[in-house]
Symmetry: C2
Subunit: 253 residues, 2 copies
DNA sequence: CCCGTTTATCGTCGGTTCGACGATAAAGAG
DNA sequence: CTCTTTATCGTCGAACCGACGATAAACGGG
């Protein structure tokens, strides 16, 4: 991390090998932004930060930051997550979402951002929802209320939500929202809150326990949800679900 | 397009609004690369170029180039496609694939590339396969033969192929490989060549003609494939297929 | 002109999966 | 002990799929 203005060191470095980048190409600043989702307080929530500098001062934004020299993209995403006080441990799921590079998306200049989608269980998300701190959890249903998100982060959030909603259809990614051991009902609650839909407990139970490699029974039981004791499961080694979990079609009436 | 060395104009421009980018951040060169697929000569093929400069001189590579000032990412992808002699018209399908930014992926310096996946019908791909020209079509099955692809383009190509193979499962993207009017058998051939699998003609016919919004019958017929005349269809307005077209499970024996 | 070949299209049959829902099991609350 | 809550097992019909038979409509060669 040097100090003075030398804005594009890497683009002119390495003139060895007889090859150098063309001198007239456009250099951009590169950042990563994170759509970190969790299920807490019976709602799907996203981690937001309050911007402390211009532009969009005091507006909510997705957590993120600039990529450092010699740093890979996923590496930068993991580092930004670790720096956020809203997350104690690494997330259970992290994947690249999309890249946003519209020329005018940042008034300071050309900033291209690579967005990542991260899913984490509630136990790794200690920040309370109504703190005035820089980091806070916001229900995704109300993320667009109040002052709008900075930059194009509303678009990125919407893309991340759609990715998460479709990802849990055909993969075991929903278990990333769960604690290491969980009941079928707790997993079903994840699906219901992510999809904003109600699922039949009996059909859901048949589906997830009948899909090979999805859930591994522990043989132990819990009554923490009340009622008859439910068996505890761990996530299996299956990453894709086949056949997929079907998202209920939105009913018109 | 200015001329002299001024490698990072945009990162220091716009100091207005009381906000400027931090002076010590890493600037990167930004490029787009294209995985342009078509079905020709009974094979799934990808457009490759022969590199005319170092590094990877004379090695095959995905077509692409640097993003220009003021240019959006998708805009740059469309421009690069238009500049390629391998494509006469805009592709029928274009989507962002992923972004690759490992620090050492380009020996000249920090170059981050946004890869796009494009699908086009044969009629828009006039270049012959064995020309010694800069652009040529290569069957994807043999794209890894001979000298390897430049940079990390083998990884990008593999990701693009996987995206294409899964995309046609749950969307109508396979029609992007077809001419404006096509028969059910021609569409089936697309699926078979992209998946390297054989599909039952009767079940495929039932599936595609029974999925609402997938195909629109024209009422006209053709015998260009021999045998009994087949009805010509156009693509419908459905973009997602529900239920999905099921990819056959790979047979072990 | 008849006939075999090729391709298109329609149907049938059995197995799997899904949605809707009944029935039973096992805990806690009062 | 009864009521409530939740978990889990079954049942039934509809939808869908894979395998495959049957018919239709073109062509080419005798």
């Amino acid at each position: 991390m040097p100090s003075p203005p030398e804005p594009s060191p890497d683009t002119t470095a390495h003139p060895d090998g007889g090859a150098a980048l063309p001198p007239d190409l456009v250099a951009v600043a590169l950042s990563v932004d994170l759509v970190l989702l969790t299920v807490r307080e019976e709602r799907l929530q996203v981690l937001l930060v309050r911007r402390g500098i211009e532009p969009f001062l005091d507006r909510p934004a997705l957590p993120g930051g600039f990529v450092r020299p010699g740093e890979d993209l996923a590496e930068a995403a993991v580092r930004e997550l670790a720096e956020e006080p809203g997350l104690r441990h690494p997330p259970a799921h992290l994947e690249q979402l999309a890249t946003y590079g519209t020329p005018q998306r940042d008034p300071r200049g050309r900033v291209v951002t690579v967005a990542f989608l991260a899913l984490a269980p509630q136990s790794r998300t200690p920040i309370a929802g109504t703190d005035a701190a820089a980091s806070h959890w916001a229900p995704v249903a109300t993320a667009d209320d109040g002052p709008g998100l900075a930059f194009d982060h509303a678009t990125i959030l919407a893309d991340g939500l759609e990715r998460a909603r479709s990802k849990i259809e055909y993969s075991a990614a929903a278990t990333a929202f769960c604690e290491p051991e969980f009941t079928v009902a707790e997993l079903r609650r994840i699906y219901e809150l992510v999809w904003s839909a109600r699922l039949d407990p009996r059909n859901f139970h048949r589906k997830v326990t009948g899909t090979a490699g999805f859930l591994v029974p522990t043989g132990r039981f819990t009554t923490r949800d009340g009622g008859r004791p439910a068996e505890l499961y761990r996530r299996g080694d299956a990453s894709v679900l086949y056949p997929a979990m079907l998202r209920p079609v939105p009913r018109l009436p």
